[in-house]
Symmetry: C2
Subunit: 355 residues, 2 copies
């Protein structure tokens, strides 16, 4: 506890505000004459000394990020960015949390198919449901888009948005990741949590812009990332306002409304955020157009690619992966001198539970 906090404590509570503030000042000054005053100042100094990215190893990646933020927030610098323009967009799968052995939303979908199978005996013989019920992983990993949509429609529609939100929350609470035996919400990247917090502390507005389902993400991202529901951009099903048993509800309809991937990402950014980002962070070719859109703006901007290089602590994959393929993106990053995180080299810690 600092001196001035202490003086606040020793002031009688029944004293009025105006008086108390001045008692506070007086006691504070007496302390100053004796031992040096003002924990406020002390705190300020602490802040400037604190490492905003403790889970990042020192090196050019960490320096590039901190340097960009320093320039963007220095009113004297030519790279200064006005607070209202400090829009930062982050992909989610494979960028803020892991996406192996398959997208976590697909694992949720699989569990939901199994839970719903009782009311759908026909699924035993019908693909892609058959593959799900028989844990036929090779088939699941090779599913085409139309089959994935079939699974999504069966499990993400015909339910109110409120009920779906509760289903996701329940799954997040009780399911565990096969490799780490941890809740999926523990498989978030500690360095990225720190990066988002660092940006927020510098008046950046942090958004998720993900190919994942927006209703799926909104059920947990606020608790896990500190991002409010209205700063989450994602893929969505159509929804319909209806009256049911005398109550108005919004039902999820078995129809794709928006795919927030590739060219869809800048479109989604314009549609939901309405401003071009100055900072974009992603890990796959699905994020390339978001990077290009961010890079094409005027003034200072920062494009950040995460390269999965750590086969020991996480997973190593890029150009030939069926999940989170990073091929063109790597070439473009090199060509335009965008910053690339080498996970194995740049991250001291990957998951919060390692600490």
């Amino acid at each position: 506890m600092g001196i001035c906090s202490f003086t606040q404590k020793i002031i009688p509570p029944d004293i009025n505000m105006k008086k108390s503030i001045c008692y506070h000042s007086i006691v504070c000054c007496i302390f100053y004459l004796l031992v040096g005053c003002s924990d406020d100042a002390a705190n300020r100094n602490d802040l400037t000394q604190t490492d905003p990215l403790p889970s990042w190893n020192e090196g050019k990646t960490k320096s590039a990020i901190i340097d960009f933020v320093d320039r963007a927030t220095d009113p004297e610098h030519q790279d200064f960015i006005a607070i209202e323009d400090r829009i930062a967009t982050f992909d989610n799968d494979g960028n803020l949390w892991s996406e192996q052995p398959m997208y976590f939303q697909l694992l949720f979908t699989i569990d939901r198919v199994k839970a719903m199978a009782g009311q759908h005996p026909e699924w035993k013989e019908e693909q892609p449901f058959k593959a799900v019920l028989e844990d036929d992983i090779p088939t699941l990993l090779s599913l085409e888009h139309k089959d994935l949509f079939k699974l999504l429609m069966a499990t993400h529609a015909g339910i109110t948005t409120t009920a779906f939100n509760q289903e996701v929350k329940k799954w997040m609470k009780f399911s565990k990741h096969p490799r780490f035996n941890q809740p999926y919400t523990e498989l978030v990247y500690q360095p990225m949590l720190e990066l988002m917090q660092f940006l927020r502390s510098k008046d950046f507005q942090v958004f998720i812009v993900s190919g994942g389902g927006v209703d799926f993400m909104r059920a947990w991202v606020t608790d896990v990332y500190g991002i409010p529901s209205y700063q989450v951009v994602g893929s969505s099903m159509a929804s319909k306002f209806e009256e049911s048993q005398g109550r108005v509800v919004i039902n999820k309809v078995a129809k794709i409304d928006f795919i927030d991937d590739k060219e869809g990402k800048p479109v989604g950014i314009h549609k939901f955020i309405g401003k071009r980002p100055v900072f974009a962070s992603g890990n796959s070719d699905g994020d390339l157009q978001m990077m290009q859109y961010t890079a094409a703006g005027e003034g200072s901007r920062f494009m950040l690619y995460l390269h999965h290089t750590d086969g020991k602590r996480e997973w190593a994959y890029d150009r030939n992966s069926s999940i989170g393929k990073l091929d063109k993106g790597l070439d473009e990053a090199k060509k335009h001198n965008w910053t690339v995180i080498d996970m194995a080299k740049d991250w001291r810690v990957i998951y919060p539970f390692e600490q």
Copy 2:
């Protein structure tokens, strides 16, 4: 200037922060012993005494609003609302600014048709363009949706989002309202500006949820209402990410993407905000479903209808108006005891320029 602000000014600028804070305290205390210290405390007292809604006449409408906010922000009260749930949604046309003699976006559209007519000689003989070019107001006011869409498509598409934004800004700067000879951005309701500011000061997140075009609104709402682009929900055209002359751009496409009106409003709220509001404000039957959706949530909530009753200072219209028709909404408000603003009675001032 308060005493402590004054002491800050008289402290040599070159002095370091830790020292300055204590000099500040010392000088502050000396002043206290002489004349009584702490403008901080004074300001606090002022704040509690300040009327947050000075342009609202005293009465049950103003009291109902302040009472709701007091209860929602009192942790001891059963009607307390957690900060993350303090979502307030406001319709725009006829609710935050005027909508007569026709929607201002339609007036923008008309001016744009005239400006573009040179490249479209065929418009001279083609409705609805003919009516626009001949200032045939009766025809314009009786236009069907498909004709309005024709005008919108011709004037709001085939242009980049950036260029469109500049066109709207230019129009807002140079156009004036026919009746008041003021820029359209001056025809905002002073009492609503105060209400939005009051809610923000109590940690509510204020959103626009309007049938108007989101790209049209985002060009000016931040300057005029203090609402960031990502807290504006509106109707939208489709848009496409494209490369043009080596630069990536987003082009507005002649196709309706979303209509944020009637049943579309709760759908838009779910889609863009992802949370059910606790406070909803509107002025027409187009806002009714937003009110119903807000009212259907659990806990304390506030539904506010604006009734245009002031034919002298603004316009008087409701059940039989072709613009901003308020018929079912009035009945529902009465039935469910929602708060209805009587503009003539409840508002001391309507427009900022009256002051």
